[in-house]
């Protein structure tokens, strides 16, 4: 009996997904939970594991095709027919697991770290920078894959009448949808008072009258993938050979060539404009000496790598320092809702990670409750899984503050755009040795610029500078206790 492979629902608001890559061919044998295909949705990109063991008998959705959630994308024939098609094959222990999911059950996504470990096949995702150094090089080193995304991938998230994740239609009108689009309102957050809960002109105008902050707050309640415009990966001090930016092999039929944006690109575009329109961006820049951090990392890197199998990155130090500063200045862990400033109890730090085709911001949850090693583990784990498209939907939500790294290509500092509905974002420039004055002598020190973009609606310059002073102090006086 064939098992259907379906397009999973990657988050409640997602209505469709695009098959970006088939990792198996028709006729290939697959194990249960073995990576079968890659998909791209408005929220996350992910690998889809096979729901059962058997032979891939039918591929129903071609690469770059977009289909609705729950659409059948492939069929897998069970053990019996698998043998017929592929010849006798020993049944692997894990495929003999008693709890084979029913044919209709959607695969649980993303697959857990444990089950991934059991996958024999190496990930077919082009690994940008070697698995051992997942956070040390720009993702753009990976061969550029031209993204031939069909126009059908039009972002349905904002403004569209949309079909809610649970299949409920958001009832509105052409006018309401236009207003929603113009104001970047997600109609699912608007209460409809018309017939059958229909959202009327009055409903959306009332909603907008409640202020842009309401929009943000609503956005927060149903977070979209937080995406940021900056390259992000942390790099070691010393000479860097920046990887060339991916160059798409464009073929021109005329003077110009129109290429549809990917869903992620559209999300990024919308989010950036929304942020520019929402916040009063101001950026302040401090220079920080990294000598102490450099020493601490050198002392602990080997032990960390031995215990965790991952490299100790500089990212972790910045996250930890930001958390310390947030504890002292909680306004940096807030958002704006109308006339209220909403302070968040949890400190969830988003880390911008560059992907081949965009950016994604996985979130280190409860960063304030983790010790340094916990933070470091979370950072490296999330960064790697972001690049290999294995992030859980939850892991890109709920950020309260974001760190990005424009220094990866050697940038001294950037002026990052705030990740709404947050109120500040910390950008870290390149860490490099510079000549600085110490005790009236010129000294060589590893230095970095920290650029903090903050929302001047709620944070004044003096406060922002005090925040950076705290970050600087923590970094320059890193203590064993913190570590």
């Amino acid at each position: 009996m064939p098992t259907n492979v379906i397009m999973p629902q990657m988050g409640e608001s997602i209505a469709e997904g695009t098959v970006t890559k088939w990792l198996k061919k028709v006729g290939d044998r697959v194990e249960r939970d073995e990576a079968l295909l890659e998909i791209s949705t408005d929220k996350v990109d992910a690998e889809i594991p096979s729901p059962s063991a058997g032979v891939l008998t039918k591929i129903l959705v071609a690469e770059n095709q977009t289909v609705a959630v729950n659409a059948i994308v492939a069929e897998i024939d069970g053990e019996g027919s698998g043998a017929a098609a592929g010849g006798p094959e020993p049944v692997r222990p894990q495929s003999a697991a008693p709890s084979v999911p029913p044919a209709s059950a959607p695969p649980t996504l993303p697959i857990s770290a444990d089950s991934r470990a059991a996958i024999a096949t190496p990930s077919p995702v082009p690994a940008p920078d070697g698995d051992t150094r997942p956070t040390s090089q720009p993702a753009s080193q990976a061969p550029a894959t031209p993204q031939a995304s069909p126009a059908a991938q039009a972002g349905r998230e904002l403004g569209a009448a949309g079909i809610g994740g649970n299949g409920h239609k958001v009832r509105s009108s052409p006018l309401v949808r236009r207003i929603a689009k113009e104001n970047q309102v997600d109609l699912r957050s608007v209460t409809g008072t018309g017939l059958g809960g229909r959202i009327s002109k009055k409903d959306i105008l009332d909603y907008l009258a409640a202020g842009p902050a309401a929009t943000q707050a609503a956005g927060e309640a149903r977070p979209k993938p937080a995406v940021l415009p900056q390259p992000d990966t942390w790099q070691a001090p010393g000479p860097q050979q920046p990887a060339p930016a991916p160059v798409s092999p464009l073929t021109f039929s005329g003077a110009t060539q129109a290429v549809p944006m990917t869903p992620m690109r559209k999300q990024i575009a919308e989010h950036m404009i929304l942020s520019r329109r929402t916040s009063a961006h101001v950026t302040t820049v401090f220079e920080v000496e990294m000598t102490r951090v450099y020493q601490m990392r050198a002392q602990n890197a080997a032990e960390f790598e031995r215990r965790n199998g991952q490299r100790l990155t500089f990212t972790s130090f910045f996250v930890r320092a930001a958390v310390e500063a947030i504890k002292q200045y909680p306004i940096f862990n807030a958002s704006v809702d109308g006339d209220n400033v909403i302070y968040k109890r949890d400190v969830n730090i988003g880390i911008a990670v560059a992907l081949e085709t965009g950016l994604i911001v996985p979130v280190v949850k409860h960063a304030d409750e983790k010790n340094f090693l916990g933070v470091a583990r979370a950072v490296t784990d999330l960064a790697e899984r972001a690049r290999t498209k294995r992030l859980n939907f939850d892991e890109v939500q709920g950020g309260t503050f974001t760190i990005t790294n424009p220094g990866v290509f050697g940038s001294l500092f950037g002026t990052p755009i705030i990740n709404q509905p947050q109120v500040a974002i910390l950008g870290v420039g390149v860490i490099e040795k510079r000549a600085v004055v110490r005790n009236d002598a010129i000294a060589i020190r590893p230095m970095a610029y920290l650029a903090l973009s903050f929302d001047h609606r709620v944070i004044d310059g003096a406060m922002a500078d005090q925040f950076l002073v705290k970050v600087k102090t923590v970094l320059e006086n890193w203590s064993e206790a913190v570590l």
């Binding site: 052409p174 006018l175 309401v176 949808r177 236009r178 009327s200």
Partner: protein, 324 residues
């Protein structure tokens, strides 16, 4: 300012044009001695003489044909249809001659064909029709449908001065029921320009002719319920004032299209199409039509009442649309 009935205003307009321009003359059935079936031309025979107020045999084809010929020779005939229902008998002269001559051979055909139309007076199927769409669908004609006495006078004068054939619909229900202030002197109302009969905010009601008053009555009623109707009086259907309609739709975002004419092929259908094409993203609800059903006008008074749109029907449609 003198208060005139709809009918008196039309008479005054024709009278003034007769005085002003010797090429204007009247032609029709019983318009001279009898003064017309509804007495629109009363007193004209005495004033202007039999050469300019011509009684004819009962042949609409001959009447319109004669008028077209006279127009080609430089005259400005004003034809009366005793009832607009009978215009069908002159149809070929209107749609194939009057409407096309200018396009085919060049000369202007400045005729006005006017007469009473519409239901509400228990006239039965042959004396009650709203057949304006026969002519709205005929390029080369103009179709004018006034609602107020002021507009009736101003528009009949404009129609007489217009160099194109104009079909001028006078609603018989309005003839003696509607009175308003009408200047005694010369003025004209342009063809193709709508009038905002009532300013409103929630729903545009686009209509013409007698239904303008129906819409205003409904608006008055709904005002008390907090629903604000804007009433657009088109005044002419060919050409019509698309801009004013779209402006109103863009302001209110909901629209009711109201006419006494039956539903299929009525002017509301055309307006609905234009609104959907040009103002789709301004709509906050479906485009709603309130019209007569697709039957001939019934003779039975209760059935006629059931057949015709009225303020109650408009108000019900507006309440549903407001709640949408």
């Amino acid at each position: 300012m003198p208060v005139l009935t709809h009918l008196e205003a039309i008479r005054q307009g024709i009278w003034e044009e007769m005085e002003r321009d010797p090429s204007v003359f009247l032609i029709g059935e019983d318009i001279g001695e009898y003064g017309g079936a509804f007495k629109v031309t009363q007193g004209m025979l005495d004033k202007f003489g039999a050469d300019r107020v011509i009684d004819t045999p009962i042949s609409e084809s001959a009447i319109v044909g004669a008028a077209v010929g006279a127009a080609l020779m430089g005259m400005r005939p004003v034809v009366e249809m005793q009832f607009m229902d009978f215009i069908a008998c002159g149809f070929d002269q209107i749609v194939n001659m009057a409407a096309k001559i200018h396009y085919r051979w060049g000369p202007a055909v400045p005729i006005v064909i006017r007469g009473p139309s519409g239901a509400g007076v228990h006239g039965g199927p042959y004396h009650s029709q709203s057949n304006e769409m026969w002519f709205v669908h005929t390029p080369g004609l103009k179709v004018v449908v006034p609602a107020t006495a002021y507009d009736a006078k101003g528009l009949i004068k404009t129609s007489i001065r217009d160099n194109n054939p104009v079909i001028f619909y006078e609603h018989k229900f309005l003839y003696r029921r509607i009175k308003d202030e009408v200047p005694a002197d010369d003025y004209v109302v342009p063809i193709g320009k709508a009038r905002i009969a009532r300013q409103g905010a929630d729903i545009s009601v686009v209509t013409y002719g007698a239904m303008v008053w129906t819409a205003l009555e409904a608006a008055e009623q709904l005002q008390k319920e907090g629903i604000s109707l804007e009433v657009i009086d088109l005044r002419s259907l060919l050409p019509y004032d698309e801009e004013t309609v779209l402006e109103s739709v863009r302001k209110c975002n909901k629209v009711i299209l109201l006419h006494e004419d039956t539903r299929i092929g009525g002017f509301a259908g055309e307006l609905a199409a234009v609104i959907a094409e040009k103002a789709f993203e301004d709509l906050d609800g479906p485009i709603v039509r309130v019209t007569s059903p697709d039957t001939p006008v019934p003779f039975s008074p209760p059935l006629e009442e059931y057949f015709l749109p009225n303020a109650k029907k408009v108000a019900e449609a507006a309440r549903r649309l407001a709640a949408y």
